[in-house]
Amino acid sequence: MPFLEVLQVALLAGLIGLDRLAFGQFMISQPIVAAPIVGLVMGDFHTGLLIGAVLELFWLRGLPVGGHVPKDATLAAILTAALALGASPGRGAPDVAWIAWVFLWVGLLMSPAAVLDRWVRQQNAFLIDVARAEGSFGRSVARAVWMGVGVFYLYYFCVTLAVLWLSAGALRSAYGLLSHGLLPGLRLFFFLIPAMGVASLLTRKSHPRGRLFAIAGAAVSVGVFLGFGLDGTVPLAALLMAAVPAVFVEERLRSV
């Protein structure tokens, strides 16, 4: 990847990362938003959205409950989209097998990234002393908060810069060494990734009629999408019109 492109993505990653860690939590940092943004900047919104959709479904698994910090979906989305688009071996839209390859590499990076994330948050304890510093109290607290914003920005900027700059070339070379016979399997793997997120979500959802809801959703979905096709929002609206009353009717039945 050209250094200027790496720099551009790293600067953007810092901003998107702030949303996850330090400011707002507007969910610009969710894969379904972050990856298309990176895609847009790199000239391929469609592939960015595809990557965002797969990662969004995969990351149905992580919940930031209490002090627990789940693996970083934002960093994964930014790195996967940037590497898939910026270091793609072919011309035009990247092959799905290549995106799956990038996903596997980024997945391996998530554990070291989680260690680094924890380390940064531990080091952030110095901000408590900054906030309690003598002098103008309001200003010292504001200084601590803005320093925290700066730390988190730098974290995303540096990690993105380092990973993209150091691994793009090697990743592409390693992909070139793969046997062509493995590529169809990688393509299929890419479309099966969501199964891991969905399965994890199901383990967390306890609902007395959960299975019934899931089966009903699948049945209605097969009907409307095979009937109406995939284009347009009509089938989705039809799906919602079936789902919302079902939820209320079930609740009424339960209370009777």
Binding site: W146, F191, A199
Partner: protein, 245 residues
């Protein structure tokens, strides 16, 4: 509105010692300053609120509003510092758990699923619609939270009962499970919409894999092993020619 605005920074100095403590002090400070002329020194009050604080970021506004009300009560001689401390510490855990279940466990996955479905049928607007819907919900939590936190003060838990988040979580769980079921055929269909047999095969495969991975997840099989097994299955199926790409 100032508290809502400053509340956006509640996690800016997040750390493992006092979690959102610095951010909470930052959000509270300008509101305390209004009383600076006639009350106890602001630093003393604010220093108390730089202590450990950890709750769901969207629910913090409610506690912020309640604490502000109690601090104002202190100025006029009602209550004690211990009351404020107890109020804060007793609510952070409960509000955190409720907020995590409602937002992280309910709103976010549900809207994430719907955004992916929208991306399949009408791609360009999906991220925008997701952001609008999500922020519509959390803006309500943030703005109404601060306002009602202040209005209810020590009786904040009563307000929580009136909005009945538990019922909303229950409904969202039902809706999420419906959407999970609806997603799988849609996901299978979008891969190769022109080949019905492929759709049927991939849908069946997805359902089977979700079931097996659900079992694995319940037994605590590590994610790396799950991913490796999935990769192996993909390679085997592709090599046998059942799913040719």
């Amino acid at each position: 509105m100032r508290a809502v605005g400053r509340g956006l920074f509640i996690q800016s100095a997040w750390n493992y010692e006092n979690f959102q403590g610095v951010g909470f002090g930052y959000a509270l400070m300008p509101l305390l300053k209004q009383d600076e002329a006639q009350t106890a020194p602001v630093p003393d009050v604010a220093a108390r609120h730089l202590k450990s604080f950890n709750t769901n970021p969207y629910m913090a506004g409610m506690i912020l509003g309640g604490v502000l009300r109690l601090e104002e009560g202190l100025v006029s001689g009602q209550g004690s510092v211990e009351d404020v401390e107890n109020f804060k510490s007793s609510l952070t855990g409960a509000f955190g758990a409720l907020g995590d279940s409602f937002v992280w466990g309910g709103v976010r996955p549900l809207l994430g699923l719907m955004a992916v479905m929208l991306a399949v049928v009408s791609e360009s607007v999906a991220p925008l619609v997701y952001l609008i819907c999500y922020n519509g919900v959390v803006l309500w939590l943030r703005v109404a939270g601060v306002r009602n936190g202040y209005a209810f003060g020590a009786d904040l838990i009563q307000y929580l009962k009136t909005i009945n988040l538990q019922r909303k979580i229950y409904r969202m769980n039902g809706l999420t499970l419906f959407m999970v079921g609806a997603l799988l055929p849609l996901w299978a269909l979008q891969v190769r919409p022109e080949v019905p047999v492929f759709f049927a095969g991939l849908f069946g495969l997805l359902v089977m894999l979700v079931y097996l991975l659900w079992k694995a997840e319940r037994k605590g099989v590590p994610l790396v092993l799950q991913a490796a097994a999935l990769l192996l299955v993909s390679q085997l199926l592709a090599q046998t020619g059942w799913f040719s790409f």
